[in-house]
Every structure is written in C-alpha cells, then in structure tokens.
C-alpha cells in the first residue's frame, strides 16, 4: 500500500538510518536461523498472512509489537495496549484476539492473519468492501481491528440482529462513533458472504 511520497515511506527515507540498518538485519536473520538463540531470547517460527516468518525475540515482546516493529505490518494498531479498545485485533488460528495482550513467544507454530492478509490481491474481502460502501469509519484508526473482528463475528454466526452485532463487536471501540455504519457494514458483508455461499452451492 505504501505509495511513493506517503508519510511512512517519507519517514523511512528521512531517517535514512533505518535503511542502513535494514541490510545488516537481513544478514543477521540468515545467521540467526542456524544458531541457537542467546540466553533470554527465543526463536519463534509462525505463519503471518500465509508466509512463514521467524522471529528472535525477548519474551516481553507482544504479538502487536512484533507485527508492527519487526515484520513491518503496521495495520494492527496500538490504541490502549491493555485489551480494552480492540484496535490491535488480529486472528490467531482463526480466532480473534487482542494482539497487545498476546506475547509473541506464545505464537510458535500458529497462523496469524492481519488486515494486510485479508484481501485476495486487488479484490477486497467482503467485509473490507462493506466498510467502504457503508462508510463505516471516519479517522480509520480502529478500522483494521473492526474489520478483523467483523470477519470473526460473521464466522462465529453472531451477526444476526443489530443488537447481537453490537454485542459481538463490543470489544472494538470507535472514538469517532461510526457504530451505526459499522453495524450496517457487518450486515452487508454477512449477506454478501451468505449470497456467495448460496451461489457456490447452486
């Protein structure tokens, strides 16, 4: 998604140091793979968005920090960092969790899905498409977490009435107050997926 000239790539170019530091880190990663980790660090192999990744980490590193700081996947957001806001929601082995309360070291062998892995190439996931169509966000900060939570909510079959959706999405806060449109988007995505499943059976 990083267009030339956007804020993130500007910051990377501007700091420069980051670019310099990246190359030795790659070499280090190759070397690390063949040696046992030094005391206090752990090697964790996991799948992130279908790609096998290996992390050499301190056990204090949360999954959220590992995704954002080590794997350059900044879609999951750090809001409260205490499991209260849901901005960090990702799926681990298909279940929605708070990445900020998950220690990365506990994710050995697990499959992590973040917002970056949800679309199929240029085709958005039905929940992503529904969030666009229903204008289910304003500032967008909570949106990656909302979308992954909504994917799970539909999969859990808890996207029936508005009341049920509101309850099932209660782990995701939106400070802009886009809740009515989020509920609409969850319903739209639910119906789109149900329609697709029905078409598939015909």
């Amino acid at each position: 998604m990083a267009e030339p000239g956007d804020r993130r790539s500007f910051m990377k170019k501007a700091t420069g140091l980051l670019g310099l530091a990246a190359a030795p880190e790659l070499a280090l990663a190759a070397r690390e793979a063949q040696t046992a980790p030094p005391p206090g660090l752990h090697d964790v192999a996991l799948s992130v968005n279908g790609t096998k990744r290996t992390l050499r980490i301190d056990p204090r590193v949360t999954l959220l920090d590992a995704l954002r700081e080590r794997l350059d996947l900044t879609g999951a957001k750090k809001g409260c960092d205490h499991g209260a806001c849901g901005a960090c929601t990702v799926l681990v082995n298909g279940r929605r969790v708070n990445a900020c309360l998950t220690l990365a070291v506990t994710c050995r062998g697990k499959e992590v899905l973040t917002i970056e892995g949800l679309a199929q190439g240029d085709t958005l996931h039905p929940v992503q498409q529904a969030f666009l169509e229903d204008d289910a966000f304003q500032c967008g900060f909570c949106t990656p977490g909302q979308i992954l939570s909504a994917v799970a909510c539909i999969r859990e079959d808890r996207a029936g009435s508005d009341l049920e959706i509101r309850e099932a999405m209660s782990g995701n806060l939106c400070r802009c107050g886009a809740y009515p449109n989020i509920v609409a988007a969850v319903k739209r995505a639910r119906d789109a997926q149900a329609g697709r499943a029905q078409a598939g059976r015909k």
């Binding site: 998950t102 209660s170 782990g171």
Partner: protein, 323 residues
C-alpha cells in the same frame, strides 16, 4: 514490563514439576498487569497448550477442565441447556477477543479491578502489604459492601465465580503430590489483615478443573449483571440464582452476588428466607431484603444496597416466571 524468563511446558507433570514461577495461560490478566508493573514475575511457566480443555456438561454433571477457553464454554449447547447461569455469566464477561484467549482457571484467578491495586503510584495492601488502602476512605464507588475492612475493600472481578458459587461448584486443585477438591466458596479468602493472600492455592498447585452437580436447580438458573455500560464492563452488581420449584413453591434456591463482595458473595440469609415459600413477587421481595444482611456501605457505594436488592428481585422474578 520487567524482565522475566519464559518456559513453555507441554504436559501437566512438567508443569507441576516447575519448581518456581508463575503459571501463565491466556495472559489477559497477567500481560495487562505486567505492563502496569503491578505484577513482576521473574519466571512465566506457559501452560497454555496443555491438553486440559475438555468440557462436559451433562444434565447430571458439569466438569470443565481449567484450560478450556471462556468462549468455548460459553458456546457449548450443553452448558447453556443444563447450566445456563454459567454460559450467561461468561457471555456477559469481557469481550469476544478476551473470551477467545482467557481460560476458565485464569478467569477464577483474575485480580481485582480496584484502581488503587492497578496503579503502582497508589497505596494498596493487596499489592504492597502494609502500604495502606487508598479506597477505604477514597474513591470507592465500585468497591465492596461485604467482606471488606480498613485493610481492603476490593471486589472480586469474576462473573463466572459468582455463577459457580450458585451451583455449589468445587475446584480440582492439582500439585505434584496429587489432587484435592475444594468448594469454590472456600477457595477464596476474605482479605482480613492480609489481603495479598486471596485463595487457598498452595505454591506449585494448579486449578485443573471446575466441577458441579446438575439437576432441576442448575437447569433453572440465571445470571443478571448491572453495569455502567451495556457491554464489556465489570459488574456494579450482579446476581446468580438457581431455583428449584415444586407446585408453585420454592423447594430450594441458591443466590450469589458479584460486584459487592471481596469474594463471590453467597446470599445465605436470603436463601433461607425463601426456602418453602410460594414463588411470588412478595416472597422474592421479602427474601431480597435479607440479602443486605451484613452489608457495610462505604462513602461512595451506598447505591449498591438498593441496586442489589432490586437485582435479586428481578433475577428471581425472571426465573420464577412472575412479574
């Protein structure tokens, strides 16, 4: 977060052989409190992948292994049918994300939400014995009516524990020496003068299962939770009730309250007042008055007395099918 060492174990014997350390599973309490540096364990023993996740909820018997996730227990049709109070308490706890992570054993071991406990800048006898209690004469709107004193008035935070007390549940505690069963109501300790000791768990001992007996009372059970917002919030007052009716009379009843006690609070006086009475609103109102026996309101939580009384009436009325 302070530095700690981390070891994952893959079997119960390996967990029980761990000589020192803090057991760790879902992490939803521990990681939160470690970030606040309220808890600073030197070693985590990760038991999160032990195969202790079985859920058995026949009409006769409830047995939930300690590492079953809250979401999985709440989604069990057998739990909902035979022990509805358990499923309801779980579904009204935390958020879907946290319920996917948190375990049943961990839920029962969660720490209080008292803001003095959660802030290292404040005095708290539970966190730092001897440092004093900020809440007793401070901000105590959310604090306990029952079981507290000048040393500590923090409420127990678990909804599940309240539901389980209303089912006379026991815990199976396992150590390297073997297993023992302890009634949940006796598992938790009153703060007394040492609020940092919260339960009877011995060092190295682990909750391995929750057990309860089924029957008509368990099948007619209900959890009602009153809180500051509609969802994802701890209880101001909650009531778990289990009611056995026979010919319009209350044959037997269990009542427990959350959000009001330093541990899940059994409303024994209200239960005795109701046994043998007709299942009418008047009888429920009479019993509810008795639920306040022993209440010691603080400066900021007096509203909880009438809230508790009304929540008891509402819960019994819904269970008894009267209005």
């Amino acid at each position: 977060m302070k530095l700690f060492t981390y070891d994952a174990v893959s079997s119960l014997p390996a967990a029980l052989a761990a000589r020192r350390g803090t057991f760790f599973a879902g992490g939803t309490t521990l990681v939160d409190l470690m970030k606040l540096e309220v808890l600073t364990p030197e070693r985590l023993v990760d038991i999160g992948s032990l195969p202790l996740t079985k859920i058995e909820a026949t009409p006769a018997r409830l047995r939930i292994e300690a590492l079953a996730r809250m979401a999985d227990v709440a989604a069990s049709h057998d739990v909902l049918r035979n022990y509805p109070v358990v499923a309801q308490a779980l579904l009204r706890s935390a958020s879907p994300q946290i319920r996917n992570m948190a375990t049943i054993g961990g839920n029962l071991m969660q720490r209080t939400r008292c803001s003095y406990f959660r802030s290292v800048a404040e005095p708290c006898n539970k966190r730092v014995p001897g440092s004093g209690c900020g809440a007793f004469e401070g901000d105590n709107r959310s604090h306990a009516l029952f079981g507290g004193g000048p040393a500590c008035v923090a409420t127990h935070a678990s909804d599940l524990a309240v539901a389980l007390v209303a089912l006379d549940a026991t815990l199976t505690l396992t150590s390297a020496k073997g297993s023992r069963d302890v009634p949940l109501a006796e598992f938790y300790l009153l703060p007394g003068s040492s609020p940092s000791t919260e339960n009877v768990l011995a060092p190295g001992e682990l909750i391995t299962a929750v057990n309860a007996t089924g029957g008509p009372r368990a099948a007619r059970s209900l959890y009602v939770k009153v809180r500051d917002r509609a969802s994802f919030e701890f209880a101001l007052v909650s009531v778990a009730a289990a009611l056995a009716l026979e010919g319009g009379m209350v044959k037997d009843v269990r009542l427990a309250a959350g959000g009001v006690g330093t541990k899940p609070w059994r409303l024994a006086a209200a239960e005795s007042a109701l046994r043998g009475q007709p299942a009418t609103l008047a009888a429920f109102e009479g019993a509810a008055k008795r639920s306040l026996e022993g209440a010691m309101p603080l400066s900021g939580n007096g509203f909880k007395t009438s809230l508790l009384e009304r929540t008891v009436v509402k819960t019994l009325a819904r269970l008894g099918g009267v209005s």
